[in-house]
């Protein structure tokens, strides 16, 4: 019988929630990497037992962890203890937590600064990995979105990481500025129909697309409107919080921006607003039902200064028409005195029929719905603040 594994990253460790296909009873394991910030965990579509995790700390920096057995055991995929860290020729061997910005001539003119909050130049400094996106075909290839914003890739199972410098170096990088959470590359989408096409999103630079496997990039922000930048329709500077697509139709993109829920029907070349009757169009997450490409989910948050649901009522909003017409989903969710947030990487769907939808809160709850959002249950109540949620559908 099929099952589901939900990977939960929190401020103080990671947890794995597992259930059979009914998704009624759940086993909770963890904390893994207790005490560390776990920004993201994600399994390989090519090998579900291969899971990568981003582990970080303000004290000790970035660690990459990898499991080859579905999360039972983990290791850092760099050079094992006892082995020399350099080859006989003197070259460094795998260092799985080494993320060094590319300064080669390949970038054209290596970038050294981006804009700080006040518009002054600020040095590019690596802080952490926000998002890991394993390749659709190869368990050893993974993309990493990092802060300060850049895209890295490993092709050796996480042993070593190299920047794809064309994103920072395409021309606008020196003008990028951080959002309130830092200047992070938080969204990476790999097009299942066109393997040369990738999307990324950066707070607060905007959305970008590559059509040549990540070598060159262009901003795709036409139609976005942001009052908090000097030119509200500028080519870059938009605080995109999340982008999602349905794998059968990857040219149709849905975006939760800082304010506004947006849609593109042409792979990001142009966007139009689909906030419609949402009570507030601020929020962080957005996702698409795995079985219905026009069914999308958001969790409206009151505002950019009050990061909690309106009126203390935690409501997921669902549109079955690809936007504009939204219905609140409340069954099983707290409808009074609820003041949690749902962060940008903290919603996921499984691919069972009916589609399971999952999200985590800064209050430590992980909610799940086994019927596309009609009814919800708290799978777990009292974890540390949830940063990310991913769902794996198991055979």
């Amino acid at each position: 019988m099929s099952g589901v594994r939900v990977l939960v990253g929190t401020r103080k460790g990671a947890f794995i929630l597992t259930s059979d296909g009914k998704r009624e009873k759940w086993d909770i394991s963890g904390p893994l990497f207790a005490g560390w910030e776990m920004y993201h965990l994600k399994g390989s579509p090519a090998d579900p037992n291969r899971i990568y995790a981003s582990q970080s700390s303000g004290w000790f920096g970035q660690i990459i962890q990898r499991s080859d057995d579905g999360g039972k055991t983990w290791h850092q995929p760099g050079t094992p203890p006892g082995e020399p860290t350099r080859t006989p020729e003197g070259m460094p061997k795998g260092e799985s937590n080494k993320f060094v910005y590319d300064t080669s001539a390949e970038t054209g003119k290596p970038l050294t600064t981006h804009q700080w909050y006040d518009g002054t130049p600020h040095p590019w400094e690596f802080k952490r990995v926000w998002h890991l996106e394993p390749s659709l075909d190869d368990p050893d290839t993974v993309y990493a979105g990092v802060e300060d914003a850049a895209l890295f890739r490993t092709t050796d199972g996480g042993k070593s990481w190299h920047e794809l410098p064309g994103l920072r170096g395409h021309g606008t990088g020196a003008k990028w500025a951080p959002g309130a959470g830092g200047m992070c590359l938080h969204t990476i989408l790999l097009d299942p129909k066109n393997r040369q096409r990738l999307y990324t999103a950066i707070s607060s630079a905007g959305a970008f697309r590559s059509d040549d496997g990540g070598k060159t990039w262009k901003p795709i922000n036409r139609g976005l409107h942001s009052q908090y930048i000097p030119d509200p329709t500028a080519e870059i500077g938009h605080c995109v919080h999340r982008i999602a697509f349905h794998k059968s139709r990857p040219e149709v993109l849905f975006m939760q921006k800082h304010w506004d829920v947006m849609r593109s029907d042409d792979a990001g070349d142009s966007w139009h607003e689909i906030s419609g009757n949402l009570p507030t169009d601020f929020g962080f997450v957005i996702d698409v039902n795995a079985n219905e490409p026009e069914t999308i989910y958001v969790v409206p948050i009151k505002s950019d200064s009050e990061h909690f649901p309106l009126d203390g009522k935690l409501r997921v909003y669902r549109s079955r028409s690809g936007g504009n017409e939204w219905e609140p989903l409340t069954s099983g969710l707290p409808q009074r005195d609820c003041y949690v947030n749902v962060l940008r990487d903290a919603m996921a769907v499984d691919s069972l029929d009916k589609c399971g939808v999952y999200f985590g809160t800064t209050g430590g709850q992980v909610y799940g719905s086994a019927d596309g959002g009609d009814h919800w249950q708290a799978i777990v109540h009292d974890l540390p603040a949830v940063v990310s949620v991913e769902a794996q559908t198991l055979p």
Partner: protein
């Protein structure tokens, strides 16, 4: 033999329970001790000092013999008591926040 103490998070990463010991050939300095530590426990590379610049991470401190050595140059000799193994070289996560 140089004795080194690690903060709890790094002990867990290195999969050790208590103090660790490293061999240093030549001058016993902060740099040579950290080189030896990272060679023996490669999973600690980047967690104490930067991969490239070898600068101490901002929230990491180095103590020994009741002295704060955090701002000493990496090639300055460590106290004899550390070099002889009488006292440990202590790597500390700086106290910050509540």
């Amino acid at each position: 033999m140089i004795r080194v103490t690690l903060p709890a998070h790094l002990r867990k990463l290195a999969q050790v329970d208590g103090e660790v010991q490293v061999e240093v050939s030549g001058a016993v300095t902060q740099g040579s001790v950290l080189d030896a530590l990272e060679a023996k426990y490669p999973m600690l590379r980047g967690t104490i000092r930067d991969h490239v610049t070898h600068k101490r991470r901002a929230f990491v401190r180095f103590f020994a013999c009741r002295q704060d050595l955090s701002h000493e140059p990496p090639d300055a000799p460590l106290p004899e008591a550390v070099a002889s193994g009488t006292e440990p070289y202590m790597i500390i996560g700086a106290i910050a926040g509540g």
